[in-house]
């Protein structure tokens, strides 16, 4: 079951995994060992609860990761961004939306595909921001 849990952790954004995956697996293992001695009914309920928590947590982690839209940044005014950057940002947003949709429909392969595409899109956006001198 720990392997299944570790596999499901792949649903989280890489930065979240790098920071918390090992710790989460450790806490899961401790909780699982405790539930194991409380009978199979508890164990099944625990497994269901953890799965639901991971899916919800991963979706939330992806949503929290969305960059703040340029126009809504306090003090940024309404400066016009180059079309290239706007399109790159839209690609990032579309991939995040696809990821959340895939996770909510238990399509984990699809979620991983969106995750890879989102990473590429985000890197592309970063390069464009450097090109236009929009780095923080």
């Amino acid at each position: 079951m720990k392997r299944a849990y570790q596999f499901m952790l792949l649903l989280y954004p890489r930065d979240h995994r790098d920071r918390f995956a090992e710790e989460m697996a450790g806490v899961f293992e401790e909780a699982r060992n405790e539930r194991h001695y409380q009978g199979w009914a508890w164990y099944v309920r625990f497994a269901f609860w953890e799965t639901a928590g991971l899916i919800g947590g991963a979706a939330s982690a992806w949503l929290d990761r969305r960059p703040v839209p340029e126009a809504s940044v306090s003090g940024a005014g309404h400066r016009t961004l180059p079309q290239e950057i706007l399109e790159a940002q839209q690609r990032v947003d579309r991939n995040i939306a696809g990821m959340v949709h895939a996770i909510s429909h238990h399509d984990y392969q699809g979620a991983r595909r969106y995750s890879d595409e989102e990473r590429q899109a985000r890197e592309n956006l970063r390069m464009l921001r450097i090109k236009y001198g929009l780095t923080d």
């Binding site: 710790e23 989460m24 450790g26 899961f28 947590g57 982690a61």
Partner: protein, 115 residues
């Protein structure tokens, strides 16, 4: 001097956040200890999943309400967390709000019973 103090959150805290802050109020705790303490604090009503717990911990770390606490002889799997000054103030504000609400609620109940 630049004003760096964070503004106190005025919106009510979510239940997981309130429980985590309360659990950390008296001592630093690591993930599993938090789960167990929260279960005890809520009288067994709240059994938080690891996904919910670490989602809330991540946001609290990003907001600067909690911070990692280095303990001797602990692995990364046993990372402990403690309240920051900002987190402690947030908890105080929330508990004050709840106390006011509780007082008002009891006062109205007493008033209605007296009629």
């Amino acid at each position: 001097m630049r004003h760096v103090e964070r503004q106190v959150e005025t919106k009510p805290l979510t239940e997981p956040v309130l429980l985590i802050l309360t659990s950390l109020a008296n001592q630093p705790r690591h993930g599993y200890a938090l789960l167990k303490d929260i279960e005890g604090l809520s009288g067994g009503r709240v059994r938080m999943s690891t996904g919910t717990l670490f989602g809330a911990l991540r946001r609290l770390l990003e907001d600067g309400w909690i911070e990692p606490f280095e303990q001797v002889d602990t692995s990364r799997q046993k990372q402990a967390y403690r309240l920051t000054t900002v987190g402690r103030r947030q908890l105080q504000v929330e508990l004050d709000r709840m106390r006011q609400l509780t007082r008002a609620g009891f006062a109205r109940l007493r008033a209605s019973e007296a009629i």
